[in-house]
C-alpha cells in the first residue's frame, strides 16, 4: 500500500492550549481515513496545518514520500491536496460551472470560455458519479448539492488527497447517505480522503481506518473493521461511555400537556402545523421523530408561547394557556431547551452567570428591592450550577461565547432543568454536542422524567428518539402520522414513516417499502 501522506510529530501551540501534541498521521492511496475526536481535540487544527492555514511549531509533512513545506493553501493545492470546509465558499448568484472554474478559468482571449468550462465540469461530475448540472445556480441548490460542488471544485484543481471537515454536520440523514456513496466512489477511483467527524456511526459506515485524537494528543489509529462503537467512544472520551441510556420503564401519572387540533402558520403564511393533537403525561417522554422542517419547530414554538397558534388549544395542567406569553408559561412550570441555542437559548455576549438567570432574572433571589440586581445571588447561583452540571471551564464571569458547544448546551440545560419543571421540552438537545456531553444530557432528561416531569423530545437523531422515548410520534408534513409505544418502533420503521409512508403499508425490514 502506498502512503500518499505522512505527518510526523506535528505540534501546534496556541496561546493557552496545546492544540496538537506530537501527532503522527498518515493516509494511504485510495482509502477513507476517518479523523475523529470531540470538539477541541485538535482534528481541525491538524488539517488546517496540512492545508497551509496554520503553521506547525514542530513536525514534518511528507507528500508522496517527499518532505514538503506548506505555508499557504496555494502550496497545498499544488501538491494536489483539496479541502472542503464546513462553511461553503461559493458565490451564490453564479452557476455551478462558474463557481468551479473560479480562480483557474479556462479562457478564450480575455473572456471566460463558459462552454468549455461547463463541459469540463460535466465530464468530471460524470466521472465521479456526482450528477450535478453545471448550469444550475448555486442559490437554487440544496446544502447537500452545494457540498458536492465544493468537492467538485477540489477535484477540478486536481486534488488527489481530499480533506472533508465535518461534512455531515450540515446534512440531513438522507444527504449523509448520499455523501457516503460519493465518498466510496471517489475512493474506488483512487482518491484518498480524510474524513473529519465526531459521529461514530459514520466512521463505522464509511471509513477504512480511523485515527482518534483527544485533547491534542493522538490516542491511536485502527482499522475500522477491527473496532466498534463502544471501543471508539472510549478512545474519544477517555473513559467508559454509556451509549445506551440506562432507564427503567416509565410510570406515567396525570396528563400534563394536551395539544388539541393545533394549526400554526409561519411568517409567510404557510400552514406548518396542520391539526395536531397530542398528550403527554407526567413521568413519560414523548419523542417526535421527523425529517427537519416538517413542522416540529413551529409546533414547539407554539407550545412555549413564541408563535401564535391559528386555531386549537394548548392545555397545561388543566389550564388553557393558548396565547400566553413565554414568561407566563415558563413561570407556570415549563422548561425549554430550544433547537438553536445561539439564537434562542443564550446571549453569547453575556457571562455564564448572566445566562444562567435569563428568564429568572426578574424574580427573587436575583432581584432585590426596586428592580436592583443581587449580584451575589447571581454569582452564587452560577457557582452552584457549574458544580452540579459540570460546566467547564468553571468560570462564572467568562462570556458564554468562549465555551465549547457542549458546555454551552449544558448552560441551557442547567438553567431549564434546575427548577424541576413540570413540562420539559427539548428540541435537538444534543445537536453539535460531543459524546461526553450527550451522555450527560441524556441522563439528565431521564432523571427529570423520573422526578415526574412530562418530557417532549424533538430530535432528528433517531438514536436519540429511540433510546430516550417512552412513546414515539412521527411528524410528516405538519401532521402527526402516528403515535406508538417505543418498544414497537425500530429505526427502519420510523425512517419509513418519516418519509411519508403509511403504517398500514409497512411490511417489515425485509418487505417492499416503497413510499408512494
Amino acid at each position: 500500500m502506498v502512503k500518499v501522506l505522512e505527518m510526523q510529530g506535528i505540534t501546534k501551540q496556541f496561546p493557552r492550549v496545546l492544540a496538537n501534541d506530537r501527532i503522527d498521521f498518515d493516509v494511504n492511496q485510495g482509502e477513507i481515513h476517518a479523523l475523529v475526536g470531540e470538539n477541541g481535540s485538535g482534528k481541525s487544527t491538524l488539517m488546517n496545518i496540512l492545508y497551509g492555514l496554520y503553521h506547525a511549531d514542530a513536525g514534518d509533512i511528507y507528500v508522496r514520500g517527499e518532505k514538503v513545506q506548506i505555508n499557504e493553501p496555494r502550496a497545498a493545492i499544488d501538491l494536489k491536496i483539496g479541502m472542503v470546509f464546513q462553511h461553503f465558499m461559493l458565490v451564490e448568484p453564479l452557476t455551478v460551472a462558474e463557481n468551479i472554474v473560479l480562480g483557474s478559468e479556462v479562457r478564450r482571449g480575455p473572456f471566460l470560455d463558459y462552454k468549455r468550462a461547463a463541459e469540463e465540469v460535466e465530464r468530471l461530475s460524470a466521472e465521479y458519479g456526482l450528477s450535478i448540472d453545471p448550469h444550475a445556480k448555486i442559490s437554487d441548490l440544496s446544502v447537500g448539492l452545494q457540498q458536492r460542488v465544493e468537492i467538485l471544485k477540489a477535484l477540478y484543481r486536481g486534488a488527489e488527497i481530499l480533506i472533508l471537515d465535518e461534512p455531515t454536520a450540515v446534512l440531513t440523514p438522507q444527504e449523509v447517505d448520499e455523501l457516503m456513496e460519493v465518498m466510496r466512489n471517489l475512493r474506488d477511483k483512487g482518491t484518498s480522503i480524510v474524513f473529519i467527524t465526531h459521529k461514530i456511526r459514520e466512521v463505522l459506515a464509511v471509513s477504512d481506518r480511523v485515527t482518534v485524537l483527544r485533547r491534542g494528543k493522538k490516542v491511536g489509529t485502527k482499522k475500522t473493521s477491527e473496532t466498534n462503537e463502544q471501543d471508539l467512544a472510549e478512545m474519544m472520551v477517555g473513559r467508559v461511555v454509556l451509549l445506551q441510556v440506562d432507564k427503567t420503564p416509565a410510570e406515567p401519572g396525570e396528563e400534563v400537556l394536551a395539544v388539541q387540533s393545533a394549526r400554526v402558520r409561519d411568517k409567510l403564511g404557510t400552514l406548518r402545523v396542520n391539526d395536531v393533537s397530542l398528550t403527554i403525561r407526567s413521568g413519560e417522554v414523548l419523542g417526535i421523530a421527523g425529517v427537519e422542517g416538517n413542522g416540529q419547530q413551529e409546533l414547539v414554538e407554539a407550545i412555549v408561547g413564541l408563535t401564535r397558534i391559528e386555531s386549537g388549544q394548548i392545555i397545561f395542567n388543566g389550564v388553557d394557556i393558548t396565547g400566553w406569553s413565554p414568561l407566563r408559561i415558563k413561570q407556570a412550570g415549563l422548561g425549554y431547551v430550544p433547537e438553536d441555542r445561539h439564537k434562542r437559548g443564550l446571549i453569547l455576549d453575556y457571562s455564564l452567570a448572566d445566562n444562567l438567570v435569563l428568564g429568572l432574572h426578574s424574580e427573587p433571589p436575583f432581584i432585590k428591592r426596586l428592580g436592583i440586581r443581587d449580584d451575589k445571588a447571581v454569582q452564587d447561583n452560577a457557582e452552584r450550577m457549574v458544580e452540579e452540571y459540570d460546566i467547564r471551564p468553571p468560570l462564572p464571569n467568562q462570556l458564554v461565547k468562549r465555551f465549547s458547544g457542549g458546555n454551552q448546551q449544558k448552560v441551557v440545560v442547567a438553567r431549564e432543568f434546575t427548577r424541576n419543571p413540570e413540562l420539559l421540552i427539548c428540541s435537538q438537545p444534543t445537536r453539535g454536542v460531543d459524546i461526553g456531553a450527550i451522555e450527560f444530557i441524556h441522563e439528565q432528561v431521564i432523571s427529570q422524567r423520573d422526578q415526574g416531569a412530562a418530557v417532549l423530545l424533538v430530535s432528528a437523531e433517531l438514536d436519540e428518539i429511540l433510546s430516550l422515548s417512552d412513546r414515539i410520534a412521527v411528524m410528516y408534513n405538519g401532521k402527526i402520522v402516528t403515535v406508538m409505544p417505543a418498544h414497537e418502533a425500530t429505526e427502519h420503521k420510523l425512517g419509513f414513516l418519516m418519509l411519508g409512508g403509511n403504517l398500514e403499508d409497512y411490511q417489515g425490514e425485509g418487505g417492499n417499502n416503497s413510499v408512494r
Partner: protein
C-alpha cells in the same frame, strides 16, 4: 485581585487610546504641510486646554454637553438602537427647560431649577420615545425616524422662538430664563457651571441602570440577542421604547445644560452639532459611561486648545476637525488596530 486584573478590558481601553495616538500622528503630517513643527503645535494644544485652572475649566465646560450627548447615544446603543436624533431631542428638551425657566418667575430655586431640568428631560424623552414606539410597534427603523424628527424639532423650535415666544430683542431668541432656574457658574469668567456635576451624576446613574438593575439586564439582552431575550420572558417592544425614552432624556439634558448654564435663553439653532458629536463620543468611549467621560473631555480639550493653536501658531483651527475625524476613523477601523496588535504579539 488577580481576578480583578483579568477582568480589566484591555482591548476596550487600548484600542481607543491607540486610535487617538494614530490620529495625532497622521494629524502631524498636516501640520508639517502648513510648515509648522507638530511638537510645537501639540504643545500649544495641550497647554491651552489643560495647562492652567482656567483652561481646564473651559475644557470641562465644553465637555459637559458632550458627556450628556455621548451617554444618550451609548445608552440607546446598548439596547441595540442607533439614536441619531440626539440633535433634535436636545432642541426639544432645551426648549422645554427654557419655557419653564422664563414662564415661572416667582418660584423658589429649589423647586424652579429641578422643575426646569425635569422638563428638559421629559421633552427629550418624549421626542425620542416616538421613534422607539414606531420601531416596537411597526418595525420602522429608528435611524430613519430619528433623522426625520431632527428636522421637525429644528423647525418647530425655530417657529416657537421667532413666533409665540420671541423675546424683546432683535435676535432670534426667547426671553431670559429666571435666575432661579439657572445653573450656577463655578469658575467665572469661564462658563463652567454646575451642569458638570449633573453630567457626572448622569454617567454614574447610566452605569448603575445598565449593570446593576433588572432594567439594564433586559435592555442589554435585547440589544445583544432579541430572540433569546424574547424567550427569556423579556418584553422586547417595551424595552425598545424605554431605552429610547431614557436616551432622549439624556439628550434633553444636553439642551437643558446649554440653556440653563450658558445662554440663559433659548437661541435659535444654538447647538454646534452637539448631538452628532455625541455619536463620536460614544464610539470612542466604547459605549461605556467611563469611556464616554474620557472621550468627552478629550473632545472638549481639542476644541478648547484649537482656538489657541489657531492664534499662536500657523496651524488653522480646522485641523482639530480633521483630527476628530481621524479618531473616529481609527476607532471604526478597529479591525486594523487589532491586527497590528496581534502581529506584534506573534513576533
Amino acid at each position: 485581585m488577580l481576578d480583578r486584573l483579568k477582568k480589566f478590558p484591555y482591548e476596550e481601553v487600548v484600542i481607543p487610546i491607540l486610535a487617538v495616538l494614530l490620529a495625532l500622528l497622521v494629524g502631524s503630517v498636516f501640520i508639517l504641510f502648513v510648515g509648522e513643527n507638530p511638537l510645537v503645535a501639540y504643545k500649544v494644544l495641550v497647554k491651552e486646554s489643560l495647562g492652567s485652572t482656567r483652561n481646564l475649566a473651559t475644557t470641562l465646560q465644553r465637555s459637559t454637553p458632550l458627556i450628556f450627548a455621548g451617554l444618550a447615544v451609548a445608552f440607546a446603543f446598548r439596547a441595540g438602537l442607533f439614536n441619531i436624533g440626539v440633535e433634535g431631542q436636545l432642541y426639544i428638551g432645551g426648549f422645554a427647560a427654557a419655557w419653564v425657566g422664563f414662564t415661572f418667575t416667582n418660584l423658589p430655586r429649589v423647586i424652579h431649577l429641578p422643575l426646569a431640568i425635569i422638563a428638559g428631560m421629559l421633552g427629550g424623552a418624549i421626542w425620542a420615545a416616538v421613534p422607539g414606539l414606531l420601531k416596537a410597534k411597526l418595525g420602522v427603523h429608528e435611524v430613519i425616524n430619528t433623522i426625520m424628527l431632527n428636522f421637525i424639532a429644528f423647525f418647530l423650535t425655530d417657529w416657537l422662538t421667532i413666533g409665540p415666544f420671541h423675546g424683546n430683542t432683535m435676535a432670534p431668541e426667547t426671553g431670559r430664563v429666571a435666575k432661579t432656574a439657572a445653573f450656577t457658574r463655578l469658575y467665572p469668567p469661564t462658563r463652567l457651571n454646575t451642569g458638570i456635576y449633573l453630567a457626572l451624576a448622569a454617567a454614574v446613574i447610566v452605569w448603575f441602570i445598565l449593570w446593576k438593575t433588572k432594567l439594564g439586564y433586559e435592555l442589554r439582552a435585547v440589544g445583544l440577542n432579541p430572540s433569546a431575550a424574547e424567550y427569556g420572558g423579556i418584553n422586547v417592544a417595551k424595552n425598545l421604547v424605554t431605552a429610547m425614552a431614557i436616551s432622549g432624556a439624556l439628550a434633553g439634558l444636553v439642551g437643558t445644560e446649554q440653556i440653563l448654564g450658558l445662554h440663559n435663553r433659548f437661541i435659535q439653532r444654538f447647538s454646534p452639532d452637539l448631538g452628532f458629536m455625541g455619536i463620536a463620543v460614544a464610539l470612542l468611549g466604547k459605549n461605556h459611561p467611563v469611556g464616554v467621560i474620557f472621550a468627552a473631555v478629550l473632545f472638549g480639550a481639542l476644541q478648547t486648545g484649537s482656538a489657541a493653536m489657531d492664534r499662536l501658531t500657523a496651524v488653522p483651527r480646522e485641523l482639530i476637525t480633521i483630527i476628530q475625524a481621524l479618531i473616529i476613523f481609527f476607532v471604526a477601523a478597529e479591525y486594523l488596530i487589532r491586527r497590528m496588535i496581534r502581529h506584534k504579539g506573534d513576533a
